[in-house]
Symmetry: D2
Subunit: 342 residues, 4 copies
């Protein structure tokens, strides 16, 4: 049985495991002060083209979102996101747990619209009761989104302009950042993304690492961010674990190379379904594909291929998700094709 | 240079790395539903002798303490701990972040005294203003303590009896559990510890793993603990990472074997200092040793051996900490001995 | 100038002020243990027909909502409300401040629909990812709603049935409870409301008191609710202040009598506008009326009458709110009529 | 029976009740935008000699402490207080509820010592692990303290200097401020106190009001403090209630006049006990007196006088508290004297 359930079904890129083994008995300080983490930070600074950016390594996505958002908001502020944003739906209320409301905007195939954002803010401050409401304190968006879609440079720039007008930091959730940047549909580079955001993270867990997300503050981290990380239970004693992984991922362009593999395989998945005339819920240019399958089509894959069912439609068909990753092989696509055609 | 700074200076036990490599491309579900985690849970249940205990894998100590404590307390309750307890001092207020006060008792070489606990609770409920105070909701203690000391079975049983009298769950922080159980001074077994506590964790990060703590609820986990873990940002997408590590540690008694290595090396460290007539701050039977060094002694180790300075005494001497671990070798002790004698 | 801006423009019913003066120098214990509070609790228990109901007096609406909701939810749970619910919009995130998410349903003229609620809950537990989401822990609704509308006994009963099916406590925000119960359109009695809810409050601030809300747990208050009140900063040292007020309001049916005055005046307001052919945003049977005024109509009231503008419509007209209260006089209605007709 | 149990046993100063009645039907805006509140703010600014100070009215002490402290701290910071401070003991964890730890220093008859404070801060930043601890973000003290004692101008100035050295805002809990300022032992004026602190409150509840505390930010309130007040459930809809009270208390020096009454009566209480050779737990110059009574002495007062028992001593005697207030009359002291002498 092959699985396209998600992009975290395997372990880590073999080079990471090798590096962990090679360095295993080197004694290093804890909490991110090890030489591997320092080297990884340097490589990331170089990759984004900002020599004095602040970089921290956290363990997972929800943790990273909760910690970064809490560090950027004042106590009375909330974070703006689209209704389908990960923080609004699938984090068990981790943001509210830290005392902040998620203020939602409509989702356009997973994306926030700069016009919606500006209209919300205008309406908010025009409302006589705004001081009785949650004050918007920052903007959160995902790149790519939870639906695999991408912001164009222009779209992101327009959001940034609204953010600046209202002095709102812009935070980009890059749990699948590599899969966005490696897409043919992406007109943004990593340095451009860094320039456009006040904080973002480079997802490791879904792009080749065992765990780990690299948080980048292109300008400056909030005061005492280290302590906030600790307070959120997000500080690794063996910081080398994330340091080594990101150092490896940012050596010789490995991160983008393996992200590109996922995109190529995803486009093959797309072709498999398209060639069979199967429609898609969304035209995704990244590693998540959303074919709409009939009951019969799903039955025929039963026991052979794993994938996620996102939503059952009134007519009995289902929106499904097939995710590729750094680990997906051409052979697996070939298998999928065979299963689908018989 | 050799380091006795802490017990998380190296990576992981080689068998863990090998196992990670061997299983790397096996596709498994996320979030702890993988077969490795299930196997590890079974082995832990077997090791504690409670076939239906609930077991969860989290990433680090502070995170585990904050998540478990929050899951066991009602909103208006606080957690009791000694003043030197990790949660009271070195977690950047992670417990308060989740809304709960840490109520402190005197520390006796790092340990809580059952008499102190009972006296506190009696005084509390005798105080006419108790409803205006934070209501004690559970008891936290570390085994071994932050000072390397151990509770005897009798001491722990007495605490347990007070807890039961006041219906307070007892939670044992086992960040260094192996190093406690493997000590010659320990008269408790793992199954006995499980019987005496309502929740405890088996520390992995400091005992051979890259990261990971196994939380055990010998009777039953609080409702929806999985969701609480997610809410705290403590849920690993690749649960296999902790699953594989604990499955390895609980195969063929590896966890206790490597813990025993740390104890043997620690006793050798103790002998090195004792033979030189150097006094100790505390007579620790576990992997942390606290020799009191003079300025001259420290100078002579400069550039050769790393260790922690805990406290400078009025007379200029310093309480230091030398920690051994699963990775400490007889050769390193030999080196330390040579450095100390010259 | 007369004001219909809100129902808290004046002080308190004169009988309350008289009672405060008459009892002023009687020495009483603090924190709600005074004899006035005890008497008020007895009268409220009698009014709802539940002799052993738990009754507490808090100071204001947002405070009451935040305290009661926090006391009814477990840490990982959220509260369900309609999108226009006070807790979802106008409490500056007080619910999120206590760590809980407000889960929203569509608003039907301010009301929750039992069908929407049930559909949400069914969909929720059918979603494979529900454990990664905020678990619904209770239901919040306002009676009357923020739009002045009322639930019929049948509507509320249907919601209650869904709540019971999913073991969700039902909490009724009665900031304007009197104005709901006194409406001709209301087919519910106070004892019936008490039977249908697990917690509700009888609003004082908007119905004749200087401040104060009476929280009723018809069955049983959550454990240590007193301490939760204190923890939320909601405990009055001089509990007599709310005790005396509610004791007065629940003597000789004063609460319902003065609520009835507001309703009669509100119906007169309605007639004033209706007679002029002015349309309403919502057909409200309670003390808040929502005429839609043109720019010219608003200009003509300028400097004579105060009211709230809720929303400007695309055509330039505005949805306005005129609120009556226990203090509104027939003379004030007469004045409004004169201003409107000239 | 007469009661010296506390300083909130009666209602309000009669002038306040009169003023509430006189203004009762004047229509005013809510939430502190009424003319009474504005007038009160002006009078307080004038009394402290700072024309542009920010002034807000909250309802009670615990609420005020929690709201002000939360508004002054960043998420990762804690508040420093002595171990006997109200926030550390008798607020049911309201500070921790908002996510912040109370960091405690030794109490010297209820007071903080500037030397202790400085030593703590020096030790803190000298500790290699300080980033793993809660970072001190402000200093809290009570004037008078919970034990009725007062800081001299010099003592407070020394604390202020340490605060400035470490950029820590100084917040003074003035629940009984009047009783401190009116004491013969006080060498501080209200304007001096305002200059020495970054935030303080003028207690109303215990000094003649039904409820209410006036929060003063002599320099500037934290951004959006109004919204923080709302978020904490601390915003009164009928802000007139506190506005009228403080406007009355700050007209013709009423606040200090009635505070002085409490002090004179307290000194008479002191004399009653001293003349009988009864010792005191603390030599308090304010409205709380702490005679140490024998079992027989307490028996003889049984059924005649109410007071608080603070602590039972090993020899069976009890530390008791007798509190006077604005409402205590010479006749009540006479009665106490008679009861004590027979």
């Amino acid at each position: 049985m092959i699985s396209f359930t998600c992009d975290y079904s395997e372990g880590a890129h073999p080079l990471i495991l090798k590096r962990l083994a090679d360095t295993n008995l080197v004694q290093e300080p804890g909490y991110g002060f090890d030489s591997f983490s320092e080297s990884a930070r340097e490589k990331i600074r170089s990759a984004i083209g900002i020599p004095d950016a602040d970089v921290f390594f956290l363990v997972g996505g929800t943790q990273t979102n909760a910690t970064v958002i809490d560090s950027l908001l004042k106590g009375f502020e909330g974070v703006m996101a689209v209704q389908t944003g990960h923080i609004a739906v699938h984090e068990s209320g981790a943001i509210e747990f830290s005392g902040h409301k998620v203020l939602t905007l409509p989702s356009h195939e997973g994306k926030m619209d700069a016009g919606d954002l500006e209209a919300y803010l205008e309406r908010f401050y025009a409302d006589g009761a705004w001081e009785h409401m949650v004050i918007p304190g920052m903007v959160y968006l995902s790149f790519p989104t939870e639906y695999g879609t991408l912001y164009s440079k222009e779209e992101l720039t327009r959001i940034r302009i609204v953010c600046q007008k209202y002095s709102l930091p812009l935070f980009v959730d890059g749990a699948r950042l590599g899969y966005g940047l490696a897409s043919d549909a992406c007109d943004l580079t990593l340095p451009e993304l860094a320039q456009l955001s006040d904080a973002f993270y480079i997802g490791g867990t879904k792009v080749g690492a065992l765990c780990g997300e690299a948080v980048v503050f292109p300008r400056k981290a909030p005061a005492h961010f280290f302590t906030t990380v600790k307070q959120h239970g997000a500080l690794l004693a063996k910081g080398r674990l994330t340091g080594i992984q990101f150092d490896t991922l940012f050596t010789d362009g490995l991160y983008m190379k393996i992200a590109r593999n996922a995109i190529e395989r995803a486009m093959e998945v797309k072709r498999v379904f398209a060639d069979l005339g199967i429609p898609f819920f969304i035209d995704s240019p990244t590693n998540q594909q959303f074919p709409i399958l009939t009951k019969e089509q799903m039955d025929s894959l039963e026991g052979k291929v794993l994938y996620e069912v996102w939503e059952t439609l009134p007519d009995g068909r289902a929106v499904t998700r097939f995710a590729t990753s750094w680990a997906t092989t051409p052979e697996q696509i070939e298998q999928l094709k065979n299963y689908c055609m018989h």
